[in-house]
Symmetry: C2
Subunit: 279 residues, 2 copies
């Protein structure tokens, strides 16, 4: 999927919501265990069917699938295949935070873009250019590079100031990585907990899409994110995971997820209308 | 395994070699495909049986297994189980370069230390403390934190100087992470391509073990690494992957791997004797 297609999906659905599939076997409703032997996929399928018209992206978090071993990989494969087949307009993100020397990153790229048909993978920048570029060699596929994350530990290194330029590490990541790929191949993870930083970030990467975690449960404000982060192609994918997928632990979990997703979509629609990005 | 046990294994085997199991289905000898339907495990088993008395650690590279999907995870599980059962004195490292927000890192920790019985996992520092600490909560298990890597891209961010302290990012990673765990829980990846940097690194973390990639095929010198990196508990695990496991692509691949491992072990024995760490 290219940037124009993603923006068109956002306009059509009046939503820039990404639903995070952090599917935890200890949190999914108990009754699912009676009905099926692939309860992770059954949960995901119900969530996806209930939310697909309200969001433009799904983001399985690899850790949750890997923690189940082979059963988890099977559920992940089935989930990606299901989205791809039934909802082909969805942008599917492997939240994997990978990054290694070139030949190893090439293996990860093959995993997520070859074997599994993800549209994008999250990548950590610490190891630099040759750890990222192997992911950029796939037509229509994206790298989502960690820049400023939403967790407490972000403060440990990401704000470190460069002695020669005065820039923060995350700013250096943004500026340096622009030489590796443009806004048609490269997005960035930018946490919502410091929405005011988005203004500075937009100065560096005005045209790029940002994947924004940390809205809702983690305390970020969608209005603030939109205020500083929107660009002429929307330029935002805002993720919500737990708040949507665990809205209820009862038989109504999918309906409850839809209600939560609907609330977010309605707020996003207002924002998009106000910004004249949709009619 | 604790630090003392690791050092005792090094003394007993007169080796601080780690064999990297970067097992690539496109590089393993063709005849293995005739003999077995689990050729990745068959390859690993042959390499392990041929080298176990010459090394103290094995390091499966997760990317190579994930790239094969479910078949790869099965081979990985069988490999770890086999080493654990037949060679219980081996230190088994998941080279995974993981790191995410706390609840997600906790899932990865469960994968590598709960489901799979690895002794250590490599972790990327970019997301800071809460991305690392979940891995530190397992008795006898280790984090191997990326500090200074051996690839070209290491220069992009790891040498960035802190405006307030003048330290490089990798030095800041070393100093900051010392507050998260001590040398009984935390090792560091330090590339061998800049062996002179090891002297500075040893000033910051004199007692810690270092996992050193990049010796051999990637150009680092074992003598140089030992000169600057050895401490009173050896303090080094030097990894070699391709040079050993792909020493031959013929029927003699395991013997050829043993010959390469033996050469390295002999050089390590000389180094350990000269340093009076073994008799």
């Amino acid at each position: 999927m290219n940037k124009q297609e993603l923006f068109k999906n956002i306009q059509r659905k009046k939503s820039f919501l990404c639903v995070g599939l952090d599917t935890d076997i200890n949190k999914i409703p108990e009754f699912l265990f009676d009905d099926t032997d692939d309860n992770i996929f059954a949960f995901n399928k119900a969530i996806i069917d209930a939310t697909a018209d309200l969001c433009v992206a799904y983001k399985p978090n690899l850790a949750f699938y890997e923690s189940l071993g082979i059963q988890g990989w099977e559920a992940l494969e089935r989930t990606v295949d299901y989205i791809r087949e039934v909802y082909p307009d969805q942008f599917i993100i492997a939240d994997a935070k990978r990054g290694d020397i070139g030949n190893t990153s090439a293996m990860y790229a093959r995993t997520f873009f070859g074997n599994l048909d993800f549209d994008a993978v999250t990548v950590a920048p610490y190891m630099g250019e040759d750890s990222v570029t192997p992911f950029l060699g796939y037509e229509g596929k994206w790298v989502i590079l960690l820049a400023l994350t939403s967790n407490k530990g972000a403060a440990d290194f990401q704000y470190m100031k460069d002695a020669s330029t005065g820039e923060s590490l995350f700013e250096k990541v943004l500026k340096t990585s622009k030489q590796w790929g443009n806004e048609d191949k490269l997005m960035y993870v930018v946490g919502a907990t410091r929405a005011d930083m988005l203004a500075d970030i937009r100065n560096i990467i005005p045209e790029s899409f940002l994947l924004v975690p940390g809205v809702g449960a983690q305390g970020g404000s969608l209005q603030e994110v939109a205020k500083y982060g929107l660009n002429s192609s929307c330029g935002l994918l805002v993720n919500s995971s737990r708040q949507i997928i665990y809205a209820s632990s009862g038989k109504d979990f999918a309906d409850a997820a839809r209600s939560e997703a609907y609330k977010v979509q309605q707020e996003m629609e207002e924002i998009l209308v106000a910004a004249k990005l949709v009619e």
